[in-house]
């Protein structure tokens, strides 16, 4: 676990120094929300319509920005053969996966923290239960990142990785996106955590299963 944290710390130090991934992800997610707010400008005064639109818009922004970031996640390891250097260290391959999942999740959380206020302002929205929304976003993001990190490693050596990653990733994360959007909608309107317990359970189970699978099969995805 300690070595996973060292890998995550290395990734975060590099990322927050260069802001290569973070800047593009934030700009992209904000642009998505701005475009939707312009497109539905006439409807934004009607609360029931906004209640239906906002959760989907929020998760579209998260998923697309996240996919953009994930496509770069292992690309930095390919430069100078760093992934091979990492494979030469006496580190369990699963620890590399865990480290990468931690750093990708934290970068994604940073993007989400900056994106949610933009949605609140542009959609003139009032969030009832901030802690509940944060819980949904954390669980949904973890599910998305556990699968995304694995597929990012799998596609990094392909010539068309920017195309391959979303094609493989989006169908696989549908079981995360659907409960996450439903739970986000409910918590924004009603604000009660008991109303979203089934969606939360689904997200937790999905996160655990995919993290375990990713941890087990990661070794084979980075094999030469």
């Amino acid at each position: 676990m300690l070595r996973s944290l060292h890998i995550a710390a290395k990734d975060l130090r590099t990322e927050f120094r260069t802001k290569q991934m973070l800047n593009s992800m934030v700009i992209f997610s904000v642009q998505v929300i701005v475009i939707f707010s312009i497109s539905f400008g006439d409807l934004l005064g009607q609360k029931d319509i906004v209640d239906r639109l906002a959760p989907g818009v929020l998760w579209i922004a998260f998923i697309f920005a996240g996919t953009l970031g994930l496509s770069r996640s292992f690309a930095s390891e390919i430069e100078n053969g760093c992934l091979e250097g990492l494979k030469l260290c006496p580190v369990d391959r699963g620890a590399i996966y865990t480290g990468k999942t931690i750093s990708n999740s934290l970068i994604m959380f940073a993007v989400e923290i900056l994106t949610v206020p933009v949605l609140i302002v542009l959609f003139n929205y009032n969030i009832q239960n901030v802690a509940g929304l944060a819980l949904i976003i954390i669980l949904g993001t973890l599910g998305f990142i556990t699968v995304g990190t694995l597929l990012s490693a799998l596609t990094v050596n392909t010539r068309t990785r920017e195309i391959m990653l979303p094609i493989l990733l989006l169908p696989l994360v549908i079981p995360v996106i659907i409960p996450a959007i439903m739970a986000t909608g409910k918590i924004m309107v009603e604000g009660d955590i008991s109303d979203i317990s089934s969606e939360l359970r689904l997200l937790i189970v999905y996160d655990l299963i995919f993290f375990a699978v990713g941890h087990l099969i990661f070794e084979y995805t980075i094999q030469d």
């Binding site: 260069t18 930095s76 100078n80 760093c82 250097g85 030469l88 006496p90 580190v91």
Partner: protein, 249 residues
């Protein structure tokens, strides 16, 4: 003396292509071995197999008594690899790169910091320790990659074309670092096209061709020997360069 590396019947295939065919190799502790061969002879593949980067399709490799297939992680603790790729993160400083790899080898913080200072001094980069590697020249990166490979005091050092990007001064500094490893009995295995430098540094020469070892002698045994000249000139040089081999002695 027991060999530190013992490889038996190693085969490695990539699809239908057999990159290594039944390689048997024993290397003693402290030995310096140079591996030559034409492009596609399997030199780098052999180095990758011995250094755990890829697994052999068939055969066994034992490093310091540890079976590579059963416990490759323990084997990795014993080895260092210098490649034409630097394995360095451009976004981190020289010191941060060495610190990261030291931590990956589970080194204790205080020992690691001392080791980093020592190695940066050896490769002449102490003054640039806190500069980002992205701003380094190719030669500086290669020198830092030498420090990276040695950070955990490996018992076996694998080198794949280590002179890539090094100017004369850096190459000399690199050779001094390698000679300094002799007192610690570090085993060195080098793949190179530079026969002159390898002859000076190594005490055993191996020539590979088409996935097989076709020549294997101690350097002191082959001085002026026709069979080495023949193996070298027929496989590595153009026929017209064959005369040049004689100039090595």
């Amino acid at each position: 003396m027991d060999p530190i590396i013992s490889a038996r019947g190693i085969q490695r295939s990539f699809g239908k292509h057999k990159a290594l065919r039944n390689i048997d190799l024993e290397i003693k502790k402290g030995e310096s071995v140079a591996i030559f061969g034409p492009n596609g002879a399997g030199k780098t593949t052999l180095l990758k197999v011995l250094s755990t980067i890829i697994m052999p399709t068939k055969g066994n490799v034992i490093v310091n008594g540890i079976d590579l297939r059963r416990d490759s992680s323990s084997v990795r603790e014993l080895i260092g690899v210098i490649s034409h790729q630097t394995y360095l993160y451009d976004g981190l400083t020289a010191r941060e790169n060495l610190r990261f790899f030291g931590k990956m080898y589970g080194m204790e913080r205080s020992l690691l910091e001392e080791r980093i200072r020592e190695l940066l001094g050896h490769v002449g980069l102490l003054g640039r320790a806190d500069d980002r590697v992205g701003a380094f020249s190719r030669g500086m990166k290669q020198r830092l990659s030498i420090a990276r490979a040695l950070v955990h005091r490996p018992e076996v050092l694998f080198m794949d074309e280590p002179y890539t990007g090094l100017d004369q001064r850096s190459a000399k500094a690199f050779e001094n670092v390698l000679r300094a490893l002799d007192k610690d009995k570090v085993t060195k295995i080098m793949v190179s096209h530079n026969i002159e430098r390898a002859m000076q540094l190594c005490d055993r020469l191996i020539v590979m061709d088409r996935g097989e070892i076709v020549y294997d002698r101690m350097a002191k045994e082959i001085e002026g020997k026709e069979d080495f000249k023949l193996a070298y000139s027929s496989l590595i040089c153009m026929d017209t360069d064959a005369e040049g081999v004689s100039n090595l002695w």
